[in-house]
Symmetry: C2
Subunit: 306 residues, 2 copies
């Protein structure tokens, strides 16, 4: 397990998009810069979505433009051709599209069936390919749906196959509501790896029920090598308000480094970035590592930290 | 991995002992009863230690007497012969002794060397054996020490061998400060299983850095079958104030049940027990599962929960 693990930092997008309190453009730009400075080389920085539906992502074009001056790879979410055009105008080189593995979530989230959502982003992928833009595919609710309950493994495999066949370079498997457990993760990865190479499957787990790190370890054992995470565990879950969001990058880094897998991340800098955005959000981070190290530093230095 | 996993609920002792706010005897008796009613059949209910040093455990004789009227197995911690006598007078049938794997922690925690601490509980074990009382052995700091830093695997194996050879029926490996990661857990268990049968090794992990569930899953993969946990993640860590304590029983149960391993625990009843004690402590539970399900229930029922 000593080979390289890639971390895709999704805090500025999947994280902040699901926080009640919007963070302004300048602060988001500073947040991305801090994450890059901490050693995170792939960061999802924004979404070209309706500003009315998702005010947290307003100004994603500015955030992307500023990010592209930094070293690293920067992703933005695009739901449709309009979003794609705006993303391209801001210089996007990697875009992400998304589909649900469950009909119930697709209806509730984007008001169309899974098949319709795929039809909707087919032209996006086609245009991206023509433009030489790489496309990442997200699948949500891969281990359970807040509306449909259990999601059949085959539904995930079908969605993964579709995204891969359409030309996505990577398929990110999202446990959107955090209900997965290790054996189910392994079963799912094994099944998806029949359709998509294991090296091109990302694990995108939410920590709603505290299972995310165990699930990631199980997935690493199964051979997966890409992890989506958010600094400070940003995000929350709209289906369980008050619950935890994305797995915290700090907790992931702590586990990987403890296992002898180098991440290139400077933990102190990362925690500083998290503390900064947490104080803007007006709430403490949910990352266990951040809280433990903040408590320790407070004890040692006598200073307060957010 | 479908065989039985045993959970040792340590909330009323290792949990409450490390909470700033003491919980009264009657409330602790009610807490134990609620845990048993929720399906936890092995519960550590108290410690026969100095009331001056550990006021949280005052009245452990009353708590034990009341517990012994319930169905299940009830443990109490005894540091020395005096404690053992008091525990026996209250009817103890299982006692726990403890040693550290690191000299620094031993000195700080019980003001003597590891070797001296072993000499101290040798007569306890001898008397327990004569009385037909079973003895459980705890080893602390098995994956790191707040004073000595790294702890050699051999130091843990030596302590485990000593406890086993003296007659302990089970040796509980404590990651007291929660710094372990999955591969280190597996290495440690593999080494200890050379001296103590794997079935007689318990995993006692704190969730300070969020690693506990991943570590437990790794340990299960390695063959371990006993898990110590505390309802609601009670406990905290004296070396990182504000940090998380024992791994939460709810999070463990969620993982095991999700993996198809039946625990016999009624999650709703367990969460009710946790919410009850959390309101006495005046702080929210740290268990991800408890917080997520409390949030969900609040949303559904419109009622508030602690």
């Amino acid at each position: 397990m000593s080979d390289t693990i890639r971390i895709v930092e999704v805090g500025p997008r999947d994280g902040l998009q699901n926080e009640k309190m919007p963070v302004g453009v300048a602060d988001r730009i500073a947040f991305v810069a801090a994450l890059v400075d901490a050693g995170l080389s792939t960061v999802e920085v924004g979404a070209f979505v309706s500003p009315k539906a998702v005010p947290q992502m307003v100004g994603s074009d500015e955030v992307l433009r500023a990010s592209l001056k930094l070293p690293g790879e920067f992703h933005v979410l695009v739901p449709n051709e309009k979003g794609y055009e705006a993303a391209r105008a801001a210089g996007a080189q990697v875009v992400a599209v998304f589909a649900s593995a469950s009909e119930g979530f697709s209806r509730a989230n984007i008001n169309c069936s899974v098949a319709e959502s795929i039809e909707r982003f087919k032209p996006v992928i086609a245009r991206a390919q023509a433009d030489g833009v790489r496309v990442r595919g997200y699948i949500s609710c891969v281990l359970g749906c807040p509306f449909d309950g259990q999601v059949p493994v085959q539904a995930v495999v079908d969605a993964a196959t579709t995204l891969w066949d359409l030309g996505c370079y990577e398929v990110s498997l999202g446990d959107t509501i955090g209900v997965g457990t290790p054996t189910k993760v392994r079963e799912l990865l094994r099944a998806c790896a029949e359709a998509v190479p294991m090296a091109s499957l990302a694990m995108h787990f939410h920590d709603t029920y505290g299972q995310a790190l165990a699930n990631l370890y199980a997935g690493l054992e199964e051979g997966a090598r890409v992890i989506d995470s958010a600094a400070g565990g940003l995000g929350g879950c709209p289906y369980a308000p008050g619950a935890t969001g994305n797995v915290a990058t700090e907790d992931v880094v702590y586990m990987l480094e403890g296992m002898g897998i180098s991440t290139g991340v400077d933990m102190d800098k990362l925690i500083a970035a998290t503390n900064g955005v947490s104080s803007l959000l007006g709430r403490p981070p949910v990352s266990r590592v951040v809280n433990a190290l903040n408590a320790k530093n407070k004890r040692v230095t006598g200073t307060t930290s957010s």
